[in-house]
Each structure stands twice: as C-alpha cells, then as structure tokens.
Symmetry: C2
Subunit: 226 residues, 2 copies
DNA sequence: ATAAATATTTAGGCAAACCTAATTATTTAT
DNA sequence: ATAAATAATTAGGTTTGCCTAAATATTTAT
C-alpha cells in the first residue's frame, strides 16, 4: 500500500465485521457492549474479541474500558453505517435485480459488503434508484451514514386490538423468513392483534382474514407501524 | 466450515490469484511456468511463490516439478476459468450497467471475482444477457469453463498488411455507429491494414477499395477476426 | 463480607501469506 | 569443463486473526 495516508481509513473484513456487530448490539442495549456479547454474535471466542477490541481502540474506532466493554466512537459509527449501507444495497440488488429470494441473500451480502470502492457504492445506489429500505425492511444509510427514520416498533409491543402494518424483520435467518412467507406475512402486510396470552406472550393476529399464532420470539422480530 | 466435503473446492483469494496468474502465463508461454514469472506477475517474492506452489500442488491444482516450474492440471485450469468468468462478468456489469469506463473496472473486478456463490454468478450472467465478451473484448468462459471458439481481437492489435473481418463494436454510442455507417464498416466487412502511424497509432485501412483513416480510439473499439 | 460463579484478559500456539537472508540447483559463458 | 551468474528453494521471521488454558477481575449469592 503506497497511499499511507489512506491506511487509517482502510479496514480488514474482520475489523469491519466487528464494527458492524458492535453497532447492531448498541442498537438494542445501552451502556458498554460486553466482550461476551460480541463473541456470541460473531461466533468467536472471548479472547479473540479482546484482541481485536484493542486494535479497534488503537484506531480510534471504539472507546474501550478494560472489563467494562466498548462503545463506538463517531468515526467507528460512521464506518459501521457505511458497511451496513453496502450490505443493504447489495441485498436490494440481489433481490430486485437478480431474482434472489430475500432469505438467500444474507451470506452473499456479507461478502459483498467488504468490496472497497466508494464509486461502486454510489453507482450501485444510483442504478438501484436510491432505495430507502432493503428487502427486509431495514433502512439503508445514505452516503454520509444518515438513516431515514421511521418509528420502529416491535409487534410484541402492541396491545390487544391494535392494528398495524409490517415494516421490517429483525431476524434475517432463512428459517424465520420462510416461516413468514408461509404465513403470508411480508413487508406492508396489514395485521391486527386479536389476543395475547398472559403466561408466555404468544400472540394471535389476523392476517388476510386468517388468525395466526406467533411466539414472543417471532413478535420480537417483526417491526410494525401503527 | 461444517461442510468438510466442500473444502477441497474452496480456495482462498490468494490461491485463486495464483491460479489465474498461472493460467494467463500459460496462454503466452508453453512449457512449465517459472517461479520468477509468477512472482513478477503477482508482485510477490519468489520465496512466497514457492510456498504457495506447494500448497496448490498438494491440492492437485497444478503439477509441480521442483526447479522446473508448474503447469495447471485440468482441475486447476477449470478453477482458473471460473474465476476469469466471474472477473469478466463483473467488468461487464460495471461498464454496461453502472456506467464505469472500461479503464476503471479492473481493480474492482479483482475484488468481486472472489465472491463465493455459484448462484450469484449464474443469476448475474442471466441478468446481463449472457454476454460473450467483456468490455475489453476478452471472451467470457461459460459455466463449464468453455471459451467461445473465436476470441475477438481488436483492430488496434493488428499489424501493417493484416487482413481481417469486422466481428463487433465495443462502443455502442450513436455517433460511433453512424460514423461506421458512413465509412461502410459493418459486421463482416472485410478490411486490410495499409499503414499505422507510429506517433499516435492512427491506422489507414482499406474498405471496399477505399482507404480510410481511423484513430486509436476507433480501432480499439472495433473487433475483428483474422 | 466473603466465597463462588462468571466474565475478561493474558499468555502461548497455530495457519495463511507475506518477507529477507542463506543455501542449493540450474544455466550460461569462458 | 568449470566458474560465474541466475533462479529456486529452504530457513527463519512477521502480522492477522483465530484458538485453548491459565490468571485475574467483576459480579452474585449466601
């Protein structure tokens, strides 16, 4: 690498994966992100996480307090958002242009998100018509890392009788997405909460005039707009 | 990696780069490909090449005779062609869909060619209309690693006195095609190279018994068969 | 408040893919 | 035919990114 001045802005795929994981963990938990939660998310050992954490801290991408977890710096957050931007644009491309199913694209996008070329990302964005949401309903950050924000509510937060529209799904595993397909639940599907079991929060909802049972795990992973 | 049986078909980006380099070297030289020619091509040291060569030989991708260079096995050649297929499909995508210039795409395609997904390659090929040649006029191997029979040559590659037949045009702009029409140059037009200016490679060719001047830009964009 | 349980870090190893320096084999030139 | 030049290999070292096992810090439970 002859362009030494660029080195601080160039990250390895592994570094990028850590930034992304920490970003996603920060979205649900507040306070420092623990070593163990990162190791669980990335399916690596805690010792490996500690090691990488030190490198990211050296590069000023995270603030790190020994034994008290990490937190992305502004620079780290921006970098994470640019990776997420790439990931979601590629997912959109795979589903909308190459006829992939939305449950097939995650692993490929995990590879494509590490391709390095600012121009490629911008041309791809333009080619796709500057989409705001990926095929899972997740918002696509713009070139500056800004997210379009809609009030993201989990289905599990609704009360009996509430009506809502599905706006996104958190779990992007193939099994979950196939399950949703089978139940005819997709982006913009209209639903109504019929009942919530008090002992395990299992929810009965109405979809296309049929009632469906959803576990708490499922309703936690479905985002809706009232 | 849980799919152990797939391991022998999975290669690292570096291994893939070596296979590709050896393939390209075999196209121009015959006999064993030397350690030094590989090291020159990949801009690495000879010691690194020797090391990698041993690994590729262990995986039966090349035949290796100590001190006498290497040669791709059938398996190695097929793998190289699949990587080249990906490279050229991505170049085609970048130029034809994302409006890159053909001189900007190489480095990005070098990254994209290592993305692992058989389905992605096939869907991309389909999406692009199963192109036979990349934006540089190089043939794109099919899914089985077969190359189209008559590789295209640029008019600009011919020498004084050569006779040839036009087989394609790279630049599909209206102005270029109108220019060709005016000169009576079309598919299967027979031409002969009369002269090539040494200072700017302007070419004088004979078409239908009339001589015509063509700039380097023009001759770069005309494909011919000898 | 202290012991047990849990989480984190440190220490030491390994494989991939590069490097330099030293050695050995091959090729070329006298 | 042999010495000099060149090419290839081996030996040993580095960084990244992972690992296991041991040590240490923090948290929880009595």
């Amino acid at each position: 690498m002859y362009l030494y001045f660029l080195l601080k802005y160039m990250f390895t795929p592994s570094e990028e994966n850590y930034l992304k994981a920490i970003f996603h963990l920060q979205q649900v938990a507040d306070g420092g992100i623990s070593t163990s939660s990162i190791s669980e998310k990335l399916d690596t050992k805690a010792a490996s996480v500690t090691e990488m954490i030190k490198r990211l801290a050296d590069k000023n991408l995270i603030d790190y307090q020994k034994y008290y977890g990490v937190k992305l710096t502004e620079a780290g957050k921006k970098q994470a958002l640019l990776i997420i931007r790439k990931h979601r644009l590629w997912e959109y491309f795979l589903v909308k242009r190459l006829n992939f199913n939305w449950d097939e694209v995650h692993d490929i996008a995990e590879q494509l998100e590490h391709i390095k070329s600012a121009k490629l990302v911008e041309e791809l964005d333009l080619f796709l018509g500057r989409p705001e949401y990926d095929p899972h309903g997740d918002p696509i950050p713009d070139a500056d890392g800004n997210l379009p924000k809609y009030p993201k509510k989990r289905l599990s937060e609704l009360k009996k009788g509430d009506q809502a529209i599905c706006k996104g799904f958190n779990d992007s595993s193939a099994s979950f997405l196939q399950f949703l397909d089978k139940q005819n639940i997709g982006l913009d599907t209209q639903i109504q909460v019929i009942n919530i079991e008090s002992f395990d929060e299992t929810m009965t909802i109405l979809v296309a005039e049929k009632s469906i049972l959803l576990s708490k795990t499922a309703t936690d992973n479905i985002y809706v707009k009232l």
